[in-house]
Symmetry: none
Subunit: 209 residues, 2 copies
Amino acid sequence: MPRVSDTRSRILNFIRRFLDRRGYAPTVRDIARGCNISTPSVVQYHLNMLEEQGFIHRDPEVFRSIQLVERKREAVSRVPLLGTIAAGRPIPVPAPDSWTTTPQETLQLTGEVTQDKKDIYALRVKGTSLIDAFVDDGDIVLIQQTSTVEDGELAAVWLKNQQEVTLKKIYREKGRIRLQPANKEMQPMYFKPEEVEIQGKVIAVLRKL
Amino acid sequence: MPRVSDTRSRILNFIRRFLDRRGYAPTVRDIARGCNISTPSVVQYHLNMLEEQGFIHRDPEVFRSIQLVERKREAVSRVPLLGTIAAGRPIPVPAPDSWTTTPQETLQLTGEVTQDKKDIYALRVKGTSLIDAFVDDGDIVLIQQTSTVEDGELAAVWLKNQQEVTLKKIYREKGRIRLQPANKEMQPMYFKPEEVEIQGKVIAVLRKL
DNA sequence: CTCGTTATGATACACTTGTTCCTGAAACAA
DNA sequence: TTGTTTCAGGAACAAGTGTATCATAACGAG
C-alpha cells in the first residue's frame, strides 16, 4: 500500500463523500472546488497518480467515470429469487438469460454473501424437510448453478425415485454416491449415480428473523 | 406502479446493464445507441417520463447523473464481527462506541440482510451447541443489541446458572420465562426471570459454505 | 372523420468536461 | 552547482453532453 500524500487523501475523501451524497462520481472541476485546488490540471495530475497507485479507476475521456477500487468489493449484485424449494417438488432451474429479463423478486447482496460467485440464484425453503442440513422453513438458500460439484460440497440434489429434493454433502464412491447430511448424528444415504441429479452447489444459507 | 411502455422498459434495462457493467450511468446518447433510438431527444423525452413516474432520478444538466430509484436500498453497511459465540462462554458485548473505532473484521452487508437495523454486530458460532436453533458450527449470527425483546422473538440468552449461551424464542409467563427452541420437536425450558440475561435479538443467520 | 395524447425524428445551441501544454516553485540527490 | 522529481497554476482546445425547438407519425376516443 503506497503512501498517500496530503492532497491526494483529501481528494480521495472528497470522492468518497461525493459518491455517498450524490450517487455518482465528481468531475475534476468538482474536485478542484471541493478541495481548494485552483485548476483542473492539478486534479488531473493527482488522479493519474491515484490511478497508478491503484486507488481509483477511470475510463479515459469519460465524464464522471471515477470509481473507488476500495468499493469494488462492496459491489452489490442482484440475486434472483426464483421460487421455493420444497420436499416434493424439483428445484426450478430456468434458463439463465431469463434471470435478468423477467422482473421478479431479487435479493440485493454483497460479495460478502455471494462470495463473488457468478450464476447464482436464491430459493426460499418451504417446509421442514431440510432440517438435517440445519435449514429451516423460511430460510433462503443461495445456489450456484453448476454441473460439477466437488466431493464434500453441499449440493442440491434431486432424488429421482423419491421425487424429492435434498441438500446433502456429496461423495462419489465406487459404483455409488454417498449423500451425507450436514447433521453428523444422522446416517448417510447411498444411491446409484443414475438415481441422483445434481442441481447445483449451495453457496450460502440466509435466515432472516 | 404505473405501467411502463415497451421503449421505456428497454431503456430501463439498458440503464441497469450499463450500471452493472461500467459502474456509472449512461448518457442520453449511450442510451440512444444501446436501444436503437436515432436521436437524443427521444431518449430525453422518455427519461423525463421515467422520472415523473418515479423510476429514475436525475440531476438537471449533470452528465451521467441517472440513478435508479430501485437501487436506492442497496446501501452497504459495515457490521463488526466481534467474536465467537460458544457454549460455555458469555457473549462478548463491548461498548458500542468501540465498534467503529477498533479496526477489526467487518462484514459488508446490504440492508437486505441487516434489515436496515442499527446497532447490530455479528458473532461466529463455535461448536454445535446451537443446533436446536438450526445454527451450525461456523455460522454467523447477526445480533441487535437491545434490552427489550418481544415475546416470540429469537433472543441470545445467557443462562447464569448453566454458564451457557443459547438462542431461543423467549416467552414471558407468569413468574417464569419460557425458552422455546426453534426446533419444534424439542421441549421448552423454564427459568426464573433472574436466571436469564437477554443479550440481544437475533436479526439473521448467515451460513457461508 | 377530428382532436388530443403519445411517441419519434432531425438539428442546433450552449455549456460541461477531460485533456494537453506551458510555466514555475520546492525539495532532494549527485 | 546541476538535474530530477513532485506538486501547483493558468489557459485553451476538442469532444462530449443535456436540452430546446420544430416537425411528423401513430393511435385511440369521441
